[in-house]
């Protein structure tokens, strides 16, 4: 493997891993803020117990999201220094703003929330969790606008071989970002909903009778959040894919593994065999006629360009061969392959949708089966609910893998209606001064540490789940002389 391959694997592994923690943090912290608000408004101890329990799980996960996030900010410079130089005028801004506006608020107010129980006035303490969770939402917005600029560069002119920023407003209101943000937020709530639903169902199955109210309410919250999140995911996803057909036609043709232009274009539900064959039609099973045309343009007869036709167009626009440059290694002077890895994009797209639908279906079923405070006796119900937690996580991961692999071979995708010349091939983005051995060292070490910490996180979460409400509610103070004892300490 050369430097480029290792750097790509590293970015993929660290980013997918980071994005296991992020949606749970974003979704769950906002849900916990709502729980604490409910406690503050009603004084009902049930909501306090929910805040404490789900808040504890949120914090266990939060720590991992924070520490793996630092790697993200650094690795553009470490592994992708050519990329950083090329996009520096645009890309660093949202990152710096994210740190200054979002991370400071998030980390400071989360510290205040963790340690501020009984020390801060109740409304102030409640405001702290809102500040921290809204700041993590804001950070998602800034990073998504940076990512969206890579998918669809706007707000720039092209000077001296580099994009020069002319409007930060255009970058922050990039229609790609405005579509990606609600889609990602809905995906985060889907994760939080399934998490609540699965764990609460498991606790009810285990007959945690003392706190039945707590688990039941959590389960219902989880169910409704999942259903609402799925509706939002579907609507925003539809908006996003229509946009993507215009902005990155190759990505969407690859999502379907559409080898030849079709009019009207059909949508395949699944395929048996290698979808990257030149006669891809023959491996696809259960195709829905004209559905792809509908997904792209809301009609049933429009033409959708296939990978072959698009490749010809891309070659004419963006060149047929990589430049001759020793830094490009094996790719130097070679023809550019404009087709993403079709099995990855095709299946990534289908798994994303499939896992999302599965999670939503499970939530609807759960809400139906627990109506009027009933809970099914069959143990498989709780087992499936617990297993179902994985579905929205997998949908998020496969969705990101699809969208990031779908823009290859570009790291900065050309904007078809934007400024000429602003695009970058991934092969040109990698650091020049870093050897494959160094890159491999970091890939191995990060993967090992991340793997070990994943085990620890899952272990801790399951321990706290088993401990239930009793494990997170503060012990009663023994006497008044203990008044100085902290409400919480590490």
């Amino acid at each position: 493997m050369d430097v480029l391959d290792v750097a790509r694997w590293q970015f993929g592994i660290t980013t997918v891993y980071h994005f296991l923690m992020v949606p749970l943090t974003i979704g769950l912290s906002l849900v916990v803020a709502c729980m604490q608000t409910a406690w503050w408004r009603t004084g009902n101890r049930k909501y306090l117990a929910m805040t404490k329990f789900w808040g504890k799980l949120m914090l266990i996960n939060f720590a991992m999201g924070v520490v793996t996030g630092i790697v993200q900010e650094f690795q553009f410079g470490m592994s992708w220094s050519e990329y950083s130089r090329f996009v520096g005028d645009v890309f660093g801004g949202p990152l710096a703003i994210e740190g200054l506006v979002a991370f400071f608020v998030e980390s400071t107010f989360l510290g205040l929330w963790i340690f501020g129980w009984e020390r801060l006035a109740k409304p102030v303490h409640l405001a702290c969790i809102w500040a921290a969770s809204l700041a993590s939402t804001a950070s998602a917005y800034f990073i998504l606008s940076a990512n969206s600029w890579m998918q669809h560069p706007v707000g720039i002119v092209f000077e001296n071989g580099k994009p020069r920023l002319t409007s930060i407003w255009a970058v922050l209101t990039n229609n790609t970002a405005l579509a990606a943000f609600p889609h990602t937020m809905a995906g985060s709530f889907a994760v939080a909903g399934a998490f609540l639903l699965g764990i609460a169902a498991w606790k009810l199955h285990k007959r945690a009778d003392d706190d039945r109210e707590v688990w039941f309410t959590s389960l219902r919250w989880g169910g409704w959040i999942s259903v609402a999140a799925f509706a939002a995911v579907a609507i925003t996803g539809d908006v996003q894919s229509k946009l993507m057909f215009q902005q990155q036609p190759m990505k969407m043709a690859s999502a379907e593994a559409l080898c030849h232009t079709e009019q009207p274009a059909s949508f395949s539900v699944f395929a048996v065999g290698d979808v990257s064959r030149p006669d891809c039609e023959n491996v696809k099973s259960i195709t829905v006629p004209a559905l792809l045309s509908f997904l792209a343009n809301s009609d049933f007869d429009s033409k959708i360009k296939g990978v072959g036709e698009l490749t010809t167009e891309y070659r004419a626009k963006y060149g047929t061969n990589y430049p001759v440059d020793p830094k490009l290694g094996e790719l130097s002077g070679k023809p550019i392959d404009y087709t993403p890895l079709l099995p990855v994009t095709y299946w990534g797209f289908r798994f994303m949708i499939g896992f999302g639908v599965a999670a939503a279906g499970a939530a609807v079923l759960a809400l139906w089966m627990t109506r009027r405070k009933r809970f099914p006796a069959n143990p498989w119900y709780a087992r499936l609910a617990l297993l179902g937690i994985a579905a929205p996580f997998l949908a998020n991961s496969t969705g990101w893998i699809f969208t990031e692999m779908g823009r290859q071979p570009f790291v900065v995708v050309p904007n078809p209606t934007g400024v000429d010349g602003v695009f970058m091939f991934t092969a040109r983005a990698v650091s020049g001064g870093v050897s494959a051995a160094e890159m491999l060292t970091s890939l191995i070490l990060l993967t090992l540490v991340y793997g070990g910490l994943a085990v620890v996180e899952v272990y801790l979460i399951s321990r706290y789940v088993r401990g239930g409400i009793a494990g997170v509610m503060p012990a009663q103070k023994e006497s008044t002389k203990d008044a100085d004892v902290l409400a919480f300490a590490y």
Binding site: I70, G88, I97, G99, S107, T108, E438, G471, Y490
Partner: protein
């Protein structure tokens, strides 16, 4: 004033904030293994920084993010050029952050021991590696015409960069001990003060050495004046500590690190990362900077954002101003 110069100063200020605030966090982490005698004392130490360490770490994240935004070429060359060192920092910070959060979540000796090791690694490695990397950025690396490192990772191992690493470790250790003396109560407080008073000459010697080396390399009067200020502040801090005044000593240590950062960056100016191969390849405040429009944007954001950060972080320290002793710790209550 020109915006690249403003941002050069702001980035130096962010590093100062980071080294001052995380300096004592790192020191406290080092003392968990050095000074505490039992689990209660270790918990006292960790809880002196419990609510604030994460916010302190953000100073580094913003320093690096601001470097990306304001000086993309500096960001790209420095982080790729010091790849393995930055990797060490990242790994150490990962295990440290998780350790603070997870250590108290299971009541088992073995569990805590593992996290104590993680806290030790996470508190000794980053100040040392940052010392190496920051000294390298102000004194230079063998960069080619593209700004890429030539010669591999061992190019960063030089006596001056190692001195920089030891200097930040020494500073953090004594700074953390003084912080514990101010924030804890009981026996651990007394021992922290004694420890600080004992090690301060050894701990600050490499800082003074680094400052002197960098000042004499730059040869500028103003940098020498700053170096002189560092030496005076260090001497006063020592004297205050020996006469039992840790609060003023703490403030004076702040002056030491402020002066040190000023000597480092001020001595390098207008370079941000000189090339030791050819000065034509050196990255400067001018050729590494982003264009003026994005600099204006982040200046506006910083103009409103930075004072707000200072206010609410200051408020956090006020909320958690009380000293912590073993008698204040709640009993371990975990599932």
């Amino acid at each position: 004033m020109d915006l690249p110069v403003v941002w050069f100063c702001l980035i130096a200020f962010l590093w100062l904030g980071y080294l001052f605030l995380e300096g004592f966090d790192f020191g406290v982490g080092m003392l968990v293994g050095l000074l505490a005698r039992d689990n209660d004392e270790r918990r006292v130490l960790i809880n002196t920084i419990g609510p604030v360490w994460d916010g302190n770490e953000v100073w580094m994240i913003v320093a690096v993010g601001a470097t990306f935004a304001a000086f993309p070429n500096w960001y790209a060359s420095l982080l790729s050029g010091s790849y393995l060192y930055v990797l060490a920092i990242l790994l150490a910070l990962i295990v440290r952050g998780v350790a603070f959060e997870y250590r108290g979540k299971v009541d088992s000796l073995r569990w805590r021991r593992w996290w104590d090791r993680a806290i030790a690694v996470g508190s000794w490695v980053p100040p040392f590696a940052w010392g190496v990397v920051l000294t390298a950025t102000v004194t230079g690396l063998p960069l080619d015409r593209r700004g890429d490192l030539v010669g591999g990772p061992l190019e960063l191992i030089r006596w001056d960069t190692l001195l920089g690493g030891v200097a930040l470790v020494g500073f953090s250790l004594v700074h953390g001990a003084v912080f514990v003396a101010l924030k804890s109560a009981g026996d651990i407080q007394r021992r922290a003060r004694q420890f600080a008073a004992t090690i301060i000459p050894v701990a600050l010697a490499p800082v003074l050495g680094l400052v002197w080396v960098l000042a004499s390399r730059s040869g500028r009067g103003v940098v020498f004046a700053l170096a002189g200020m560092v030496i005076v502040a260090a001497a006063l801090a020592m004297q205050r500590l020996w006469t039992g005044r840790p609060a003023t000593a703490f403030a004076l240590l702040g002056a030491v690190i402020a002066g040190t950062v000023a000597v480092m960056f001020g001595g390098a100016y207008p370079n941000v990362l000189p090339s030791t191969l050819d000065s034509a390849y050196s990255l400067t405040v001018w050729n590494a900077a982003a264009s003026s429009y994005p600099l204006q944007v982040i200046t506006w954001v910083a103009a409103f954002g930075a004072p707000a950060v200072l206010i609410y972080q200051g408020w956090t320290y006020w909320v958690f101003r009380k000293r912590i002793g073993t008698q204040h710790l709640p009993p371990v209550h975990v599932p």
